[in-house]
Symmetry: D2
């Protein structure tokens, strides 16, 4: 078995190495994520949720990821610098994993969300939203977020979306700063096809990858999920952590 | 085949009878819904969404319902007094139906939602919310709504919940007037068990049935779904209608 | 000079007495607020914001109130059981006071808000709202809150209203659980006349006094303000405390 | 008396000229607003609210403005292409005007709002907010809107702010897409000094003027109000129009 260690900072790197050595697992180090990560049996990420999202931007076929949180919220991570030794050992030994679907558009993948924003900050853009080809809304706003349930605690959260069960496969559609008396987030089955029609906008995947878009942006479930080591108390932890986002 | 006609008002009753007669279907009339409705092959409801919810309060085993909307929003209905003749004929001939899960608590069923409210209007109540036994929130509010996805356009809608895909099985947990700087609706898999701990409250199912509750209120998916004739354009119609709620 | 001490609990009563004695101020004790409080030079309230609101329900002409917070949030109070001795002495010596306007309806006064609620919990009521005689909104909801700026952290806060500067005289109109795709709180000059037209409702002043109402409820600024000892850092304290309401 | 006509489109220009000629008022035409507008006795704006905001960007000393709405919402305008002849004649004859305060920062004026946005779309920025020098909030968001009461129907409206009485002088502080479990708009007296501390952001006045900012942005009431011809039913019209923003 061969592991990859992706680290944003190297403060606890030696301690991570020792854990893997104690498990007789060889490893390579990555200060920056790359496509090569697909070729490892699992990935240890030292950093925050952003580090994991950057890893995922590089890979289609995803080895199980184990996250050690050195960032802020850490909803995607499994452990802290204080407790990772024990948690990591246990995770690798049992090797129980779980998949979370990603969504795709324009050949890019996203675990959290696609944000479609006006190129010019502070200008309204006209947006039409379709579900499976049928128009469901038309509005003026700063942008649109189409998130997965995992992304319900990312940009969709900021834009006014609900907190969603990580195991309920769905997409959440939330406008950013809609110029409108009323609006609601929409939560839809992930097997639907979401179309967002805009002019001259930018599509941002998980706050990482940007691509210019003009016209129809189609977002749908990808066949390349993100894979993580299993986290036992994911749900109570999630709800407890989101209340602390302030 | 034997149909039941439940009517809130009798304005179009004769026209409904004629349609059934033309299809050679015998029928009985109900000015008030009752348990007996379980024994019919299908039910035609003349009224609004409230009439359908009242029908559902009376029955566990649900024959397919066809709704003719003489009320306001009509999200559960299939047709209007203008077009029901054609739509009803087509529905009965093809007899395509679809199920929507109900939730249950204290032996009562709800298609839209359970609302747990303080007995004394305008007084805060202390609420603890658990998911599958794990506490996920604790707050002071006027009440709590636990809705199905179908109920996302009912009381949960008023309380600040998202609009949810009618085919995405889930529960939506929304506080009513929470005394709190921040809050979010929670959307969770319907197979979870939601517990709401309150003191001296009232549990209201679909705005119809009331029962006093004190302590733990457990809400979970029922094995008795509501059954409706299939509606082709349910999703675009839903999103279009909710925008008109004003 | 003669003071009244209103106490909800008697834990620190003796310490309060000693402070007043040290200032050579005579006093009377009230375990329940009454109209007689109008006849004192100032009032010391031992309790929470609720205790102060109960005092204000009893009096039109309001002597300056000094609050020692033994409750939860304590936005109307001046001190805690830990620091009141010093703060109270200083307040009485300088005797700097400030007034906050109250609003009135049906012969009742409110410092925080009037809530107009359906008698039957969980039932929608039809509401029409007028400003200075002109209709500005019509909706279905559980109730309507009309608050002062001080009440922006009370029921209006729970219902979804903004946090308002305690020195900006205004009324905040917020629906409770409006059945509507969109809504906004309204913030209006306090010299306007707010009319809320409802059927068979209950009017609740500051969560204390209830009166049945049917038809037009007119709410306007009262000529009987609430009077408090001055609080130096009222604004930063307010914003800091509201963020802690959870 | 000398008038300036600022026109975005020239469809009704001749009809406007005729009204002024019939009143024996000389005029000059401006296809683009400029500083020179300060030197006229009044301004007729043919366009939408954006045209009026562009005029106001050019002038400190503001002659009374009369707006003919050829745009969308038209909250700042007085008349439509259908009825302006009569309304304009009446306005010029009575010459009743009203002032609405503007706010200022970095030497720029705004009638509606200042928006402080991240230069990079979709990236969170750290923001600290102070009132009269005292910190009142600290958060991560896409941006901050500081609006006047008139701007409560502009960007602040989109960002989640309340609708405010046009005659209640205040500032409304609303974050855009705050990454936070809870937040509230703040409504404060316009005589306060609002400070927003950010890094490497852009300050946008009324959606028109942009300037780079880094560090402390101080926003306060300007001594140069905007001046408009009086509008009789401003309040009911406002509330009726905002409900139509969809």
């Amino acid at each position: 078995m061969k592991a990859a260690i992706v680290y944003k900072t190297d403060g606890i790197l030696n301690r991570v190495k020792k854990v893997l050595e104690s498990l007789n697992i060889s490893f390579e180090l990555f200060s920056e994520p790359s496509e090569e990560l697909e070729n490892y049996d699992f990935i240890v990420s030292i950093g925050g949720d952003g580090t994991i999202l950057r890893i995922l931007q590089k890979i289609k076929h995803c080895p199980p990821i184990f996250g050690i949180n050195t960032g802020r919220v850490g909803l995607l991570t499994h452990s802290t610098p204080e407790n990772f030794e024990e948690v990591l050992k246990k995770a690798v030994k049992s090797f129980e994993v779980e998949e979370f679907p990603r969504i795709t558009s324009h050949g890019i993948l996203a675990l959290n969300e696609f944000a479609i924003l006006n190129r010019q900050p502070g200008k309204l853009m006209d947006v039409t939203i379709k579900l499976d080809g049928a128009e469901v809304d038309r509005l003026r706003c700063d942008g649109i977020v189409v998130a997965t349930q995992i992304g319900s605690t990312g940009y969709a959260f900021s834009a006014g979306g609900p907190v969603v069960d990580p195991y309920l496969e769905c997409m959440i559609i939330v406008p950013i700063a809609p110029f409108r008396f009323g609006w609601k987030p929409f939560v839809v089955d992930m097997n639907r096809k979401v179309e967002v029609c805009v002019e001259n906008a930018v599509l941002i995947a998980d706050g990482q990858e940007n691509v210019g878009v003009d016209g129809k942006v189609v977002i749908s479930k990808s066949k390349h999920p993100a894979v993580f080591f299993k986290k036992d108390r994911r749900i109570p932890e999630l709800f407890s952590k989101v209340k602390g986002i302030c």
